[in-house]
């Protein structure tokens, strides 16, 4: 897919994302969180890297704004770890979108991530990635498998009828 993107198109996407991240500073300021221009550019670059490494394609402006809006009030995020955590959360988000076989919507997955991050993992990204989200996605996949089994059983039943 990358090869199909005309250069100005991906440039436009980057510009749009940068504008959105600058706007985020307005509402994260009350929590003492601000992104510098350098940090914004770094987050955008890492967005494309995360997409590439997880084998995903994004057409809109990305997930960063939603992640920032959801996590900015977390007691475990400070100005010192802000950029690093948002970057890690972005990586986790795309990874677990794949792991959950896209069965969660963006908003659902972010809400789960926030809940685990604040109440279970207490701001520990390794714990979030290694246990909570893994278990959540495994549960969702099992749910799908049992749905498929039920569907197959009903198809067999209909065929027998």
């Amino acid at each position: 897919m990358e090869g199909l993107l005309p250069i100005d198109f991906s440039g436009l996407l980057k510009q749009q994302t940068a504008d959105e991240l600058r706007q985020c500073n307005a509402f994260t300021g009350v929590y003492g969180l601000q992104l510098s221009e350098k940090q914004i550019q770094s987050l955008i670059e890492k967005r494309f890297e995360a997409l590439r490494s997880t084998g995903r394609v994004e057409f809109g402006q990305g997930i960063l704004k939603k992640l920032i809006a959801e996590f900015c009030d977390s007691p475990f995020i400070t100005q010192e770890n802000y950029e690093e955590l948002i970057c890690d959360l972005q990586d986790s988000f795309y990874y677990f979108k794949n792991e959950s076989m896209d069965l969660f919507s963006d908003d659902e997955l972010i809400a789960h991530m926030k809940y685990f991050f604040d109440y279970i993992c207490r701001g520990d990204m390794d714990y979030l990635n290694g246990t909570s989200l893994e278990a959540l996605c495994r549960g969702k996949r099992n749910e799908l498998e049992s749905d498929v089994c039920e569907q197959n059983e009903s198809e067999v039943f209909i065929e027998e009828l």
Binding site: L4, F9, G55, V57, G60, D102, S105
Partner: protein, 306 residues
């Protein structure tokens, strides 16, 4: 990839070379294609997900290209370029979907025809394929995966389809199957069964085409002005055919067999041009096997006596 993809590329390449489209237009077209892909991906995910996997994106893109290609194919060449330049890709995609929906209806009618004309001969792969063809219309997602053929179509046709996919493949497959059914029904069912039994004793369970041995024997008999309704080729008939074939090259033999196919059409009352052409193609594809059998001295395996 599908011929529809090639078709869309053919249209843009031809427009570029003839000057109807500039490189800037082509770049714009690519961007419009990406925009359409973005909208389609959002709809597919119910606007709940900003990203999709690369594999899904490729499938959705293939579907868009297939759908637009199908419509442009219907338009014909100069008109296709004009439409590509003057209309939005969303509109072309919508028209393509409409075209697919028409083909789905046609496919369902053809499937009914196939079921009505099915030969009274047991063959497991034929029976399974009929079931799969019915299931195709339940499984086919023409909005998002129009280029796919989500069915196990196992029964081999006399003249296989190599390039088509999606609904186009199914319609063409059904068209050919209707012809093969109709062709088989022009002969006595018991004689056909005897011929098939001699051709392959396990014909009811193996993956073989039922029409081909019948067509080849009929062509062989027509070549020597024999009684094609009898279907059987006696050793003296075979010797006569052998004499005719021996001194001809493969291309000469193809020409002879194409003429013979016309004679079979006259005798069996096949009048439609497409059906005549189909029998001619069966005749042409039988020639290499006949030549090989002649060379190996086992023509009785192709022209069967029962």
């Amino acid at each position: 990839m599908s011929n529809q993809k090639a078709h869309l590329y053919q249209v843009s390449a031809s427009a570029l070379s003839s000057g109807l489209m500039t490189p800037d237009d082509a770049a714009l077209l690519q961007q419009r294609l990406l925009d359409l892909l973005g909208n389609t991906a959002a709809r597919y995910r119910f606007f709940e997900s900003s990203s999709i996997t690369t594999e899904l994106a490729q499938e959705l893109l293939s579907s868009i290209i297939y759908t637009i290609g199908l419509y442009l194919k219907k338009c014909g060449m100069p008109e296709a370029v004009r439409q590509l330049k003057s209309m939005t890709l969303s509109d072309l995609h919508r028209l393509g979907i409409k075209e697919i929906e028409e083909q789905i209806l046609m496919g369902k009618r053809l499937l009914d025809q196939v079921k009505l004309s099915a030969p009274e001969i047991t063959n497991r792969s034929y029976r399974d394929t009929l079931r799969e063809l019915g299931a195709f219309f339940l499984r086919y997602d023409h909005l998002y995966f129009s280029h796919e053929t989500p069915s196990a179509i196992e029964y081999p046709l006399c003249n296989p389809i190599s390039e088509l996919n999606g609904i186009e493949f199914i319609c063409e497959y059904l068209r050919r199957l209707v012809f093969e059914n109709e062709f088989l029904r022009r002969f006595d069912a018991e004689r056909v069964k005897s011929l098939l039994y001699k051709y392959c004793a396990d014909y009811s369970t193996l993956l073989i085409n039922l029409c081909e041995p019948v067509a080849v024997n009929a062509l062989g008999l027509a070549l020597i002005n024999g009684n094609i309704a009898a279907l059987t080729i006696k050793p003296k008939d075979r010797a006569q055919i052998e004499d005719i074939l021996r001194n001809r090259t493969e291309s000469e033999t193809v020409l002879v067999f194409e003429k013979v196919a016309d004679a079979v059409c006259d005798i069996t009352g096949i009048s439609a041009y497409t059906e005549q052409a189909y029998l001619q193609s069966i005749a042409a594809s039988a020639v290499p096997r006949l030549k090989a059998a002649l060379k190996a001295g086992n023509l009785e395996n192709v022209l069967i006596t029962f």
